[in-house]
Symmetry: D2
Subunit: 339 residues, 4 copies
């Protein structure tokens, strides 16, 4: 039984983390904090009444070090980089759900997050927590940069293709659709019920901060620079991401061969379900689970393929994957708390 802490309980990821960790048989939640909110957790999130009597403290480094073996940071980007360092220095395992340690290039970080990175040493050490691709490194890690929600769905959808046929891919267009919780808990007019319900729109077209994150890790998998077009959209649902990915190829690769490649790549994975012919991912099959469902349809010309993938942005795209990473790091059953 290890002791875990959650920093950032007032956000959606914090709430989902606590929900998972309260059911996890190998951990005890011993510390819950936030930067601005304090008080009983069930006053912040009434759904926890009669489930926990935890109290949210104002975040304090010494208290966190004292109370926890593992700390989850569910903070906004540019905040985590001020919190992670001292915890790591004290020998704690840290899993950061923010974007602060994902882009390895500091200039790129500054461009997209409008802040200088203040913790370059740990930026270099952070392991990207995508277990289906980087499990070996995660096992040995002390510090995890938990992937972004859009990148999780995109990278799992493209990893087999890009790893096996890095030179065949000539263009990638990712059409991503996300539920509203992906925008976090904030009161912007664009997130009001009357502006989201019965609506649908693209936003930050070819200008979203997750595009460079996807490009960085695709390039790493391919062993060469990979570009892409990325357009996110806002779906009128609470949770869930579905991405439809259009890939052009410079050689004829049959859809059947590609499907075999995907099936092999994910054959031993619990949380990635590569669907059989004719089936398509649906948000309903993955929301509130840690699964990523993937399907693949080949173009008639054998020179194009459409890959679809679906996850819950708050679970496999955030808190569930964070717990999966903890399970791997700590030697627990990888699925504990997640099925």
């Amino acid at each position: 039984m290890i002791r875990v802490g959650i920093v950032g309980i007032s956000g959606f990821s914090g709430r989902v983390l606590l929900d998972i960790l309260l059911r996890h048989k190998d951990v005890r939640v011993t510390y819950v904090a936030a930067h601005a909110t304090t008080g009983r957790v069930d006053a912040i999130w009434p759904v926890f009444a009669n489930r926990t009597s935890l109290v949210c403290a104002k975040y304090d480094t010494a208290a966190a070090i004292d109370a926890c073996d593992v700390v989850f940071l569910a903070l906004p980007h540019t905040e985590s980089m001020h919190v992670a360092g001292p915890l790591l220095a004290a020998g704690k395992r840290v899993i950061d759900l923010s974007a602060d340690y994902r882009l390895k290039n500091r200039a790129l970080y500054k461009k997209w997050y409008h802040a200088d990175h203040t913790d370059p040493r740990n930026l270099a050490r952070a392991v990207y927590g995508l277990p289906e691709v980087y499990r070996a490194q995660i096992k040995k890690a002390k510090f995890i940069a938990n992937p972004g929600c859009y990148p999780t769905a995109a990278l799992l959808a493209l990893a087999p293709l890009v790893s096996m046929y890095p030179s065949a891919v000539t263009s990638i267009a990712i059409d991503a659709k996300s539920g509203v919780s992906g925008a976090g808990r904030k009161s912007a007019e664009g997130l009001m019920y009357c502006f989201v319900n019965e609506n649908f729109k693209a936003y930050r077209v070819l200008d979203h901060q997750h595009a460079p994150e996807i490009a960085q890790y695709l390039s790493r998998m391919a062993g060469k620079p990979m570009g892409l077009m990325f357009v996110p959209h806002l779906l009128p649902v609470d949770a869930g991401i579905l991405e439809t990915i259009y890939v052009q190829l410079n050689t004829k690769i049959g859809a059947k061969g590609l499907a075999d490649c995907y099936r092999r790549f994910y054959s031993t994975e619990t949380f990635v379900r590569f669907l059989g012919p004719g089936a398509q991912p649906e948000l309903r099959h993955v929301v509130r689970t840690n699964f990523c469902d993937i399907a693949l349809v080949g173009g008639a010309d054998n020179r194009s393929v459409v890959i679809t993938s679906a996850i819950d942005n708050l679970v496999k795209g955030a808190s569930g994957q964070a717990v999966q990473n903890m399970n791997i790091m700590c030697g627990f059953n990888e699925t504990e708390g997640l099925l």
Copy 2:
């Protein structure tokens, strides 16, 4: 004041048609029919109570000919082709909202609609009712094949580009999302509330019957064969289509120049609104209107562009456009009943 009829009042398009035509100052609805439903229209659609006392008859050719100057066919595909001929032979103007007269190639029609086309003579004569592209022909037409919902949004989004730079386009991927009314009024399990709400999925991936319709008219505009990838999705909203279109170009065409081309192309059109920089179409701005909103964002490499377009599938994508076509054919103000 001309006399108009609606055949197929029990479907969604029929309902929207009647709603528009009851407000139209130049027409009187003198005939309403369906194949399976009869009785007072406000029993079929209670929303019409106290607005009309029209009664829906079982469809009868002679009665329709007797009662109407213009007939709208809001029937399922493979039914319209048995109804249009006699009306045309009697000198009536006909606007067909089904797919029966859109694909000019009968083999293609059979492949996608699983029926032999029984009315090839009128198939050849039917004018494709996309006013912003084919207004001159519509003006002189007796018989309109009203465009499909997905094709309307796709063709309006691509017409300026494909007309001006037919040789520059190397690939087109259309990611289309439609509200549920696009599937028509039928009780399939996949259309039940509990299977649509909080859900999202692709369907008929690279296998939808609107893809050849789009390809046929794009090719006609370009003056050369145009291919495309087309993936439709089901949005958890009543109405509205948004398409996100990824175009690869073989020459550097600046986004600014392209935007000018679009602005010019649509400068005199009431129902197409080409949005300024930074703005994006939203379903909320077009649903229950006859507008099509379009935006364009160029890739950093100047060799790709993302075009987004939005319409109401039942209005500009069906009944509204049908009335727009009638207005043009009959010499009414083109916007009558539609603003």
Copy 3:
């Protein structure tokens, strides 16, 4: 053709008013203003692009007087009472959509709206704009207090019963459910998509400011004080109010007799549809219309009755009814712009 102005275009009621008035054949919108917003109306509400080139001004009394014959005030409560007076003094007709002139008792106004009423003279003169009950007074009025959304649905549902059987009613419980637009255009956390979607709750239980408004006009109809219990709820829909009203009676009044009474009461009304046996109001049948649908089911003991009524809170519950009042005041066809 009269000249009309809208003060408060940035709110939902203002938007719906403009939408109706742009289609109204007897008026021209000559003035649009707001307290905090300025600029092109189609920048405030993109839905109006290519429909109007009106520009929203900062509200100015002299300009309004100069430009308009009739002025609609779609302002928050406690603001209208500072604006109406000068317009009335200048001989303009004014229709106030706020709550400022509905409660005739100033102490009650202060209790519920937390402000002293500063315009008691016009408070006394304002005619309550519920046409189906007060048409005669509206015809002669210069100044209309347009009813609240909940009161409209409640009063139309109860008017026949309370007028005919004032002594028979022993208790009234109104269970009201409203779509989110009823809360206005504001960015409170409780109105965020993720806090409303897939949710439902009561609010201000037995403590809502519309309860005294309903009680005041019920009492006036009954000719004696009428009490009631009123509980509003927030529905996860954009628009629409449905009220389920439980009435206990001290004498046996058969449901059939009651139904006859309702049918007679509303027999000449276009906008109230009293439904036949077995039918129930649905939001879908009234949303985006000026109709109020009403049904009545009697208890087995003949001493109780359940009345249900449905309206669109922004149309019959606000802007549509306001236009209906203008039509009556100005001698237009009462349904102009509203069918």
Copy 4:
């Protein structure tokens, strides 16, 4: 570790049951069946892929007896009464989620369910599985009639009042609102997305089969006949019931005293949360949990009270409560699998 079976996996309750039981540490699901559906469970409900390899059999009594210690019947009413008997005769514990064993009066059963009851012996023996009221009997039971969804929310909301002040209550009106899953998995037009979304309506006004079930158990708690008015409504959400209950009293009972009575009544209950002053139940706080949230607001006259209660219709209103009953019967921790 006991062996449990689910009969009726293709319905919503069956799916939720399996989801809970797969996480339950004291049971193993050894049998899954349905009347019409067969095949892998993850083909019926793709959400279970990679979670279970169970196969759904056509229901067979001998197989069920052989495979299970406890059997859950998640069948439509009038089907369970043919299945329960043989299982009970074989010594199995049975929990019936249908309505077949709830109404003790066979004439009443026939009136509401349009079938003769064929198993009167077990009807007499069945224990009503509302743990917070009947825990002692459940502990000793072999056969549980699991309460209906509406009755669960109504009875928990009224139990303290009716038990403590049976003579004070003069009238009860229950205004109930349910999510769409309450209607079960069937393809009726009224349950289509386009007929439910953005809609709301009452149905079966004063004519719903759960009214006599509520009346029967209220009367039992009160020790005297209790009548009530009951009006259900269809909410545009997947899951959740909220009931707003209007009670008239013949004596002045202060809201504070009543609240104390409720707090005491539920002080040791995990799954009923009596909310503090000012708080109101929300579907979001109970959906996908086994909790029932309850609040109480007293009328100004001290002679009326409004009680609100909320549950998930598929969890506390069906499958969760069924597992809670199993836990009690089998001596497991009452909350196992449910927190």
